[in-house]
């Protein structure tokens, strides 16, 4: 809401308050002033009269003029480029040294002829083109004959000597979409008197016009017929006032409607009485049909829309826009003024469904003073009578179904207010403050008060609101700094968050970068990496762009985009992780994503190790060890599902208790090019953290280790290529309890080994807790190991 200070000054004296100070005071009281702007910043202007105008000797479009600017500045020679400049015109002259929004004006030669100033257009003074006619934009401003030559208060003469407060109103202060209420707000803050406009009473004839609402969506509707009006251009004071508020002048009747709306906050609507099929306006919420609005477009009207009808034809979509058929035009002679209340939610619904909004609908949606229709009708009538010189006024006809005439009273107390604020205001201070705030205050006893809220403050409904009024007016700087003294509480993260933070610290220390990506992705990013996915993606019904339309099902596509971004910028060695919630139609979980690309710079460039599957596997194992999860409790299994984004031979599932808890692997070459990941190999893993974190790390007590020496024996074996190392280890471990550990130290295939086979060298550690092992014992177990390997896996000793 932009507010003209000149208009405000009609109702309250604030000439002694600097606009910037006023802006600060309002802002601290919850009425944020975003900007304080002068309507025009032009300086050193004077009104002059063109006394001579001849073509410039050296140009085919410039004119050479002599302009009389009065005694002080004399007759100036000015070169002017405007097509409309003529001798005899009164014009605006910017003198040498003048500052215009477009720059400084200086004396100088224009095509060899001296020009001592500039004749200005309104555009050059900073007036927005939307307020100007094509002629005004193309040429200089030609002033009325009443302009006085030599007058230097040009901006005042033009109505441009105004300062505008740009209010950024919060949703609770819809009442301030009214110049009068802004004046009241200033009066509250500065304790000054407000001069409210008092509408005249008229000798009005009884009206035969009918208004009736058949819907609770329109609890009140007033109409007044005025005859014999004349639609014409508005007087300049009205035009200037609207312009200062950012509203374009149309004609006197429309302008009066806008003026009264800006003043009071109450939208009005004007109908051409003669275009109504019947002298009636019936408000319905069950009309079904179509309607051509003022903007010339056709809209469908459904049940629940507020249709203002006459002879069952829609004349207006209540609170939103009138019909083309009943619109006021230059030919209009008789009008009906509408001042009504409509349900904000119905207007909101209709307005957003039809994508049709107006100044009026936005005011209704935000909420208006429901009890000022009489006053508003009076203000509009006053203006019409004074501008149209008509005396043929009918009485206002009103439908009002509301029971309550006044907003309810609020009972509260001084102690409640002080307890809520942490203050020690006296009852007298509080009462006086609320009275400044236009409230009726009744003191019941030393503590209790009863507060009557003014009708326009629809935001105030309870005692908490009253406490806010007190402190925003008296100043939030009155609030002390007092830490609460409460029982001691133990703060902290929940257990799973603690573990996740541990994992995050671990991965950071391991050199991985922690990233943050968008949860909303485009459709293509839902494909692939869905091994862990349960359910479907949540799809937005109102996305802003298709880039961000679906809630993601996997972290990996988003993370690969980050990898691609970095690879394209020369960072080819990447180790990234992200922890993020994933919400689908079937689950709400938290995932850890890992992406490795390029090389592990083990010793920087001196010794780079290209990332491999085993880096990922190692990271996952390191997390398990960090959490105290023993190897036996999880396993890596070959990927059985056909996940097209992963290399089929270099990927695996992480399983915990038979449940899939994650996957890891090298990116399929096709996916590498799809995600534009460059030449290097990229590895990804994704883990469902709740599954991983559900494992308890069981050990709570120390377990003594053996005092007796362990025996280590190496074996060199030959196995089929298809036999996995893990199968061999597990088989060996299962043979006897004295086998504690199996460490593979060499794998070889090639010369000397049968085709389709590999050689595996490993160390077995044997140990007993109760005594030293004897050679014969170990020999016997080793024999059993070889038998088991042969029987179960077809493995032989390498010979």
């Amino acid at each position: 809401m932009k507010v003209s200070l000149n208009w405000i000054k009609k109702y309250i004296d604030i000439d002694d308050i600097a606009p910037s100070e006023l802006a600060d005071r309002l802002t601290f009281a919850g009425v944020e002033v975003e900007a304080v702007e002068k309507l025009s910043t032009a300086t050193k202007l004077v009104i002059g009269k063109v006394v001579e105008c001849v073509p410039h000797p050296d140009s085919d479009h410039l004119s050479l003029t002599k302009v009389n600017t009065g005694e002080k500045h004399g007759v100036l020679q000015i070169v002017c480029g405007a097509p409309n400049v003529k001798a005899g015109q009164k014009v605006i002259v910017a003198l040498d040294g003048a500052m215009l929004p477009g720059g400084k004006i200086s004396k100088g030669l224009i095509r060899g002829v001296e020009s001592q100033g500039m004749i200005c257009s309104m555009l050059e003074l900073g007036v927005d083109a939307k307020f100007l006619t094509a002629d005004q934009i193309a040429g200089i401003e030609v002033l009325d004959d009443d302009a006085v030559v030599g007058n230097e208060n040009v901006l005042e003469y033009l109505g441009l000597d105004d300062t505008i407060l740009d209010l950024k109103l919060l949703a609770n202060r819809s009442d301030l979409h009214s110049v009068l209420n802004v004046a009241r707000e200033i009066s509250t803050l500065y304790q000054r008197e407000v001069r409210l406009p008092r509408p005249n009473q008229y000798q009005a004839v009884k009206s035969s016009f009918t208004v009736l609402s058949k819907t609770p969506l329109c609890p009140q509707f007033s109409g007044r017929v005025i005859h014999n009006i004349k639609v014409e251009t508005s007087p300049s004071w009205l035009k200037k006032t609207l312009q200062s508020m950012g509203v374009r002048s149309i004609n006197n009747i429309v302008d009066i409607g806008n003026y009264v709306m800006l003043l009071s906050g109450q939208p009005l609507h004007m109908y051409d009485l003669d275009k109504l099929p019947k002298p009636e306006l019936i408000i319905k919420d069950d009309y079904v049909g179509s309607f051509t609005a003022l903007d010339g477009k056709e809209y469908d009207v459904r049940k629940g829309d507020i249709a203002i009808t006459s002879a069952n034809q829609v004349m207006c979509l209540g609170g939103i826009m009138g019909s083309l058929a009943s619109a006021v035009t230059e030919k209009t002679k008789n009008i009906v003024i509408e001042v009504a209340n409509f349900a904000f939610d119905a207007i909101r619904r209709t307005s957003s469904r039809l994508a049709l909004a107006s100044d009026s609908s936005s005011r209704f949606v935000k909420g208006i003073n429901p009890y000022q229709y009489d006053e508003v009708m009076g203000l509009a009538t006053d203006l019409i009578v004074s501008l149209c010189k008509t005396k043929q006024i009918e009485q206002t006809v009103t439908y009002d179904a509301r029971q309550v005439d006044q907003p309810p009273l609020i009972s509260t107390s001084v102690s409640y207010i002080n307890n809520r604020l942490g203050t020690r205001f006296l009852q007298s201070e509080i009462v006086e403050t609320l009275k400044r705030d236009w409230m009726n205050v009744e003191v019941l006893n030393r503590d209790d008060i009863r507060v009557g809220v003014p009708a326009w403050r629809i935001d105030i409904g309870g005692e908490a609101d009253i406490s806010e009024e007190v402190i925003r007016i008296l100043g939030l700087d009155k609030i002390a700094n007092t830490l609460p003294s409460l029982q001691v509480t133990v703060g902290g993260y929940p257990k799973d968050k603690k573990q996740i933070n541990l994992i995050r610290r671990h991965l950071t220390a391991r050199g991985l970068d922690e990233i943050l990506t968008y949860s909303l992705v485009k459709a293509e990013e839902l494909d692939g990496f869905r091994i862990l996915t349960k359910g479907e993606s949540h799809r937005l019904i109102n996305p802003l762009t298709d880039e961000h339309e679906y809630m993601r099902l996997s972290l990996i596509p988003s993370m690969l985009k980050v990898a691609s971004h970095n690879i394209a910028r020369g960072s080819k060695n990447l180790a990234l992780y992200e922890v993020s919630d994933i919400d689908t139609t079937a689950e709400a979980t938290t995932r850890l994503g890992l992406v490795l690309a390029g090389s592990d710079l083990y010793h920087h460039q001196l010794s780079e190790v290209p990332y491999s599957f085993f880096h990922l596997k190692g990271l996952i194992e390191s997390i398990a060890s960090l959490l105290g999860i023993k190897e036996a409790r999880y396993s890596f299994e070959k990927l059985a599902t056909s996940e097209q984004e992963l290399h089929p031979g270099r990927s695996a599932l992480l399983k915990i208790n038979g449940q899939v808890a994650g996957y890891l692997g090298e990116i399929h070459p096709a996916a590498t090019s799809k995600y534009e990941l460059g030449k290097n190999k990229v590895f990804v893993a994704e883990i469902d953290l709740p599954v991983l974190l559900s494992l308890e790390n069981g050990q709570t007590a120390f377990k003594a280790f053996s005092r007796f020496p362990a025996v280590q024996r190496d074996l060199s074996l030959v196995a089929a290529v298809s036999v996995a190392a893990q199968q061999i280890s597990k088989t060996i471990l299962s043979v006897d309890r004295i086998i504690k550990k199996v460490d593979i130290f060499d794998i070889y295939s090639g010369d000397g080994i049968e085709q389709g086979h590999k050689s595996i060298a490993l160390t077995i550690t044997y140990e007993r807790e109760d005594r030293t092992l004897k050679d014969e014992e170990v020999n016997a177990v080793e024999k059993a190991v070889l038998e088991a390997l042969n029987k179960k896996l077809g493995i032989n000793l390498r010979t």
Binding site: A171, A464, L476, T482, P484, G491, D513, L516
Partner: protein, 346 residues
């Protein structure tokens, strides 16, 4: 006797000279094998002892032992010198360039949004707040209704939301965590901080992001007032931005708090005097807060006549931008590693 002693003396001289002359470790060993072995002349001379008697016997024995010891010592010294030279030579050959980089155990970078989130949470945890998290997908009921924002409430325009269905949306703020925390505590004191991702229908630009992080704080108990809120946030700001920062409250509006305030912090650049960073106001808007609206308490089962509370909401990116002078909010979501590597955990 004298003859034998003279011979000994000569042997000592000769062998000493040979030991001293030995040019290498091997040559030195050769000298020892020749002159100091069991069969060497000097040892054979021990046999002469039987020819002497009395005091001479002892004198001769002593003389041989002295010479042998002195030769052995000389040998050891020379041998040690060779060994020392050998080690020195080996070490000299093993010299490295210590200016080369160490093995790469560099810590990774962290997105500053997480650094700031963790730091804020830690400050409140130190004040006894529990961390509780909600979900990104929230019901209209929790996101709006329980936050005193009924359907068609004008303030729903303030935060244009991403809807999944009529009753399901992406949370527009972390405030639903207030209702969830109160439901869980069922009348007990509530003291929680709730971090989370939020979503609004804003086009991404330098200062807007359709996704952003927020931390909600809530304290509900008996006799909680606005001065408690101010002191708590003042403490938080001083921990987060330094002891010299001051806060001030500006009246504001949120449907779920009453009174509502915007909290501003004195500008770190100019200390409150006014500069381009704070647009000459001396203060920077940092978060929104207020006393929990009685309706919100009531809807979550707390009697507003007995309980009161305060709540606040902190925009994580906003704090991160101020803290690290980040010029564009989109950088947080680009994750350029050259950006990430600049930030470390405090």
């Amino acid at each position: 006797m004298e003859q034998a002693l003279a011979r000994l003396e000569q042997l000592k001289e000769n062998i000493s000279e040979e030991i001293n002359k030995a040019a290498s470790k091997n040559a030195l060993v050769e000298v020892r094998n020749t002159h100091l072995s069991k069969k060497a002349e000097i040892n054979n001379m021990m046999a002469l002892i039987k020819n002497f008697s009395g005091a001479d016997k002892a004198r001769f024995g002593q003389a041989i032992n002295d010479i042998r010891q002195s030769l052995n010592e000389l040998y050891d010294t020379r041998m040690q010198a060779f060994l020392d030279d050998e080690v020195s030579a080996k070490l000299a050959s093993e010299q490295i360039d210590i200016s080369l980089p160490g093995i790469n155990y560099q810590a990774g970078g962290t997105n500053p949004v997480f650094l700031v989130r963790d730091e804020i949470l830690d400050i409140f945890i130190s004040m006894g707040y529990e961390v509780k998290e909600g979900r990104d997908v929230e019901t209209d009921h929790y996101n709006f209704e329980l936050m005193n924002i009924p359907k068609n409430h004008p303030s729903r325009d303030m935060q244009d939301s991403f809807y999944i269905s009529e009753n399901l949306l992406l949370r527009t703020h972390t405030s639903p965590a207030q209702a969830r925390a109160m439901e869980e505590k069922k009348g007990e004191m509530v003291k929680v901080v709730c971090p989370g991702k939020c979503y609004r229908r804003d086009n991404d630009d330098m200062t807007h992001s359709h996704q952003f992080g927020q931390i909600e704080g809530l304290l509900v108990g008996k006799d909680i007032n606005l001065a408690h809120l101010k002191a708590t946030l003042d403490l938080f700001i001083k921990k987060m931005f330094g002891p010299k920062r001051e806060i001030r409250l500006v009246s504001s509006y949120f449907p779920f708090t009453e009174p509502s305030v915007e909290v501003q912090v004195s500008c770190a650049e100019c200390g409150g005097k006014g500069c381009p960073t704070c647009k000459d106001t001396g203060y920077i808007e940092i978060l929104g807060a207020g006393m929990v609206h009685p309706n919100v308490l009531k809807m979550s089962g707390y009697d507003p006549n007995i309980y009161s509370g305060f709540a606040f909401g902190i925009g994580i990116e906003r704090v991160a931008m101020l803290r690290y002078k980040v010029d564009d909010i989109r950088r947080f979501y680009q994750n350029d590693v050259r950006f990430l590597k600049q930030f470390v955990r405090k």
